[in-house]
Amino acid sequence: MAFEMEIPYRAFFAAEERPADFQDLLHACFDTRGELRATIAPDHVRLEVLDQVNNAGKLRLSGCWRAPDFQPDDLESLAAKLTLPFLFKIAAVGLPHSQIYTLGHDHRPLADFFMRNLFLAICRDVATTCETITTAAAVAQGVSDFQRQYFSILKATFDEPALEQGSANDAIGFIQANAYLPILNFNNPLLQHGAQHLRFILSKRGEHSRIGHLKSQVLEAREKMLVHFDT
């Protein structure tokens, strides 16, 4: 049994615009022990309850990685996982019924409901799948809005001067860059460790990419050279 509804995009991110029949969807999710999924579209958000067939208990995110170097295993540490929404451009988020811990306050937007439950799930180190979709399908504005929503939760949770730099978009940019270069210094050891771990992994991934690239260049150059030895 599946339930779904569409609400205007603006309403999904606007406070005090949670539709009344969202509760029905929520109840259906609990009743069916399904997954509550929000998918961003250019002018609306589709909310639906889906059966959990292969992803029982797992968070299911759809989107694309911010840079080609990233892989899901990079975020194996909890600390690194906390930055997931900034590194994986989320276009859709699926919450299994077992991971819906907070219903949020009515005055908060639906986007907050999804991001807050995502945050709490990450904090509990819940298994997460990241499904890659085409960049065309990932609506840019929705991704940014999701990131800002998540950022506000992170900022409210951790009292970090590093998260107070400039606007939310600025801070998000610094967090993303911090995955490659140590430009932020977190007071919180969990956040600091997470960033260091991420940088270490990405640095090694970059090296492997370079090696792979060099190898293909060597082989390609060799093929071109050997042609001259055919005559």
Partner: protein, 622 residues
């Protein structure tokens, strides 16, 4: 005290005088003149010293020595100690610079930047030695390089002199590796700066080089066993023992592993590596890159990027060579069509070939690799004449063209029409035209022609008729008038009047081979004409001038035929006429004047009154 020159160019030679003529000319033709030229001769028993004297008189050779040595590296060290230039390059006999602006190019680089040297690339018959690593790993990376393209700071070379042990063949590679090891900043210039001599040097002896390289490897890499050194050589030469190289790259000596990795990568770009299958190539590449990336130091991988760029450029050069060959082939095909048309018209209009009148003329010419695809045009034009020669001889040097299989089909086809193709063991360049068969002139008139000219159908007829009228004279279809100043001295060659004729034979006419020159019976077979010492000390690059000198020495005049006139002279040239021409050196750089001067001094020793005789022989030209 004079400022030391920027360059010292050193040539080591022994019993290889005709190869030395190429090398010296290449040095002479350099646009940059800020160099000294040193010749180190190993007590040659051929005419090397005559050639050295020629170049000393001309001013090219600054210093020379001729004495026994203990081997090529001993001689190179000797030259090094004689040098005064800031940067030294060893261009041994038979090697040549790739272009006339090599020294200018290198000079700009070493003066613009603080460098200890420049290492360029070398080429021989489409094989390019493309150095790429500016590192001590040079000792192993390519197990060889083109030392002819190295310009290194003299003071540093003196600190790391060549290993002179008699069995060594790779002392140059080891030296360069040691220079890098001691911090020398020698930058690689990915351009062909030198063409290696085709004659086999010490590095052609595979067994000897194996011993030498084995010794270098064991001495430079203390942890390497004799067996491992042999494995490296086998891998390099035959691409065998992939497992051995993987094992070497996995052993704990990081320096050795890294150098082997570079060598493995370099080997993958050599022709022998075609034997590897895809898996082997990938396995070797993976392991090499893994080794180089072992400590995460990006610097170790940077040479790999240099290797990739170098090989791409090398492939580009070879591609350019292929394109040039294709262009020549197309030009030859086009020319072939045009020549067929011309010959058809000639046959229709004139009694040529089988219908021609016969004669006793022996024709002789020579050619060389750059013109071997087109020489048949010149020979065929000599077969489509109104006056048929008795014989046509083509002389080639086996050291340049190894044998008949290297000849184009169209040239070999002409053997069925009577062409005789001969191979001398060693070429004597343009003197191949008559040096080997001058004795034939003992009985018959001998005609020397060039290999890039399409001779008009009556060229031989003109020569023969004039010969019948003046049997004791040299006959030329294209003659220049020797220029004489008001004071009676001979003026510069470039001021002589071209394509002149006179109503009778004259000592003042210089016949040129381009038009065809007939030498009367006995002219060339006189021993003075083929005296190599005299040739090389007087006119190593101008057989026309030498032969004229021998004519003056015997007061034998030259008769210009009716063709020797500007408007009538013009002959068609083959597509490769500019290849290997001596025009630049002889005419534009004035080498003809030096040769003329030397020849006339020689004439004066034999015939002191030659000058007066020549002046008296002048008649106003028409």
């Amino acid at each position: 005290m004079k400022t030391p020159p920027l360059f010292s160019i050193i040539t080591v030679t022994r019993n290889d005088v005709w190869s030395l003529t190429k090398t010296a000319r290449s040095v002479f033709q350099q646009v940059c003149t800020d160099f000294e030229y040193i010749i180190v001769d190993g007590a040659s028993e051929d005419s090397t010293l005559s050639l050295v004297d020629f170049w000393k008189i001309q001013g090219l050779v600054t210093k020379s020595v001729s004495e026994k040595d203990t081997g090529v590296y001993n001689a190179m060290n000797k030259g090094l100690k004689m040098a005064r230039g800031q940067f030294v390059c060893f261009l041994n006999a038979s090697d040549v610079f790739a272009d006339d602006d090599v020294l200018e190019k290198v000079g700009r680089l070493v003066q613009d930047r603080v460098l200890d040297g420049i290492l360029g690339w070398g080429e021989l018959n489409d094989q390019i030695w493309a150095s790429w690593i500016e590192d001590e790993a040079f000792k192993m990376a390519s197990l060889g390089f083109c030392h002819q393209a190295l310009f290194a700071r003299r003071t540093l070379l003196l600190e790391q002199q060549f290993d002179e042990r008699p069995f060594k063949t790779d002392s140059d590679t080891r030296q360069l590796g040691q220079l890098y090891e001691h911090g020398a900043q020698i930058s690689i210039l990915p351009e062909v700066l030198a063409l290696r001599g085709g004659e086999p040097g010490i590095s052609a002896d595979l067994e000897r080089t194996r011993i030498s390289i084995n010794c270098t490897l064991i001495e430079e890499y203390p942890g390497l066993s004799d067996a491992q050194a042999e494995q490296i050589i086998d891998f390099r030469r035959k691409c065998t023992g992939v497992g051995n190289m993987l094992a070497l790259m996995a052993q704990p000596d990081e320096r050795l592993a890294r150098h082997v990795a570079y060598m493995v990568l370099d080997t993958l770009f050599q022709k022998a590596s075609k034997v590897f299958d895809k898996t082997q190539v990938e396995t070797l590449t993976d392991k090499a890159l893994e080794v180089l990336d072992a400590d995460g130091n990006a610097d170790a991988l940077q040479p790999v990027e240099q290797l990739i760029c170098a090989q791409a450029r090398r492939a580009g050069f070879l591609n350019d060579n292929d394109v040039a060959r294709d262009d020549l082939d197309r030009a030859v095909s086009k020319f072939q069509g045009e020549e067929e048309g011309r010959i058809k018209k000639v046959r229709a209009a004139l009694p040529v070939g089988d219908k021609a009148t016969s004669s006793s003329m022996v024709i002789s010419l020579t050619s060389f690799p750059a013109r071997i695809k087109t020489v048949h045009f010149a020979i065929r034009s000599l077969m489509e004449q109104t006056c048929r020669p008795k014989e046509i001889h083509l002389w080639l040097g086996r050291d340049e063209i190894p044998g008949r299989n290297w000849l184009p089909g169209r040239l070999r086809e002409l053997e069925e029409r009577g062409l005789q193709i001969h191979f001398a063991d060693r070429t004597v360049h343009q003197y191949d035209k008559f040096m080997h068969n001058a004795a034939l002139n003992g009985d018959d008139p001998f005609v020397i022609v060039d290999d890039d000219v399409i001779y008009p159908p009556q060229a031989l007829e003109h020569l023969f008729k004039a010969h019948q009228e003046y049997p004791d004279a040299v006959i030329g279809n294209r003659c220049h008038r020797i220029g004489v100043g008001k004071d009676g001295t001979i003026v510069s060659y470039k001021d002589w009047k071209r394509e002149q004729r006179m109503p009778r034979p004259s000592l003042q006419l210089l016949p040129t081979g381009a038009g065809g020159v007939l030498y009367p019976v006995g002219f060339l077979s006189d021993a003075m004409v083929t005296n190599v010492d005299d040739i090389l000390s007087c006119a190593p690059y101008a057989d026309d001038i030498w032969l004229k000198a021998t004519a003056l020495a015997r007061a034998i005049p030259t008769m210009a035929t009716a063709l020797s006139h500007g408007a009538d002279w013009y002959h068609r040239y083959t597509p490769s006429m500019w290849a290997g021409t001596l025009q630049y050196a002889n005419v534009e750089r004035g080498l003809n004047d030096t040769q003329i001067g030397q020849c006339l001094e020689w004439v004066a020793r034999i015939r002191p009154d030659w000058h007066a005789e020549m002046l008296k022989d002048g008649v106003d030209g028409v």
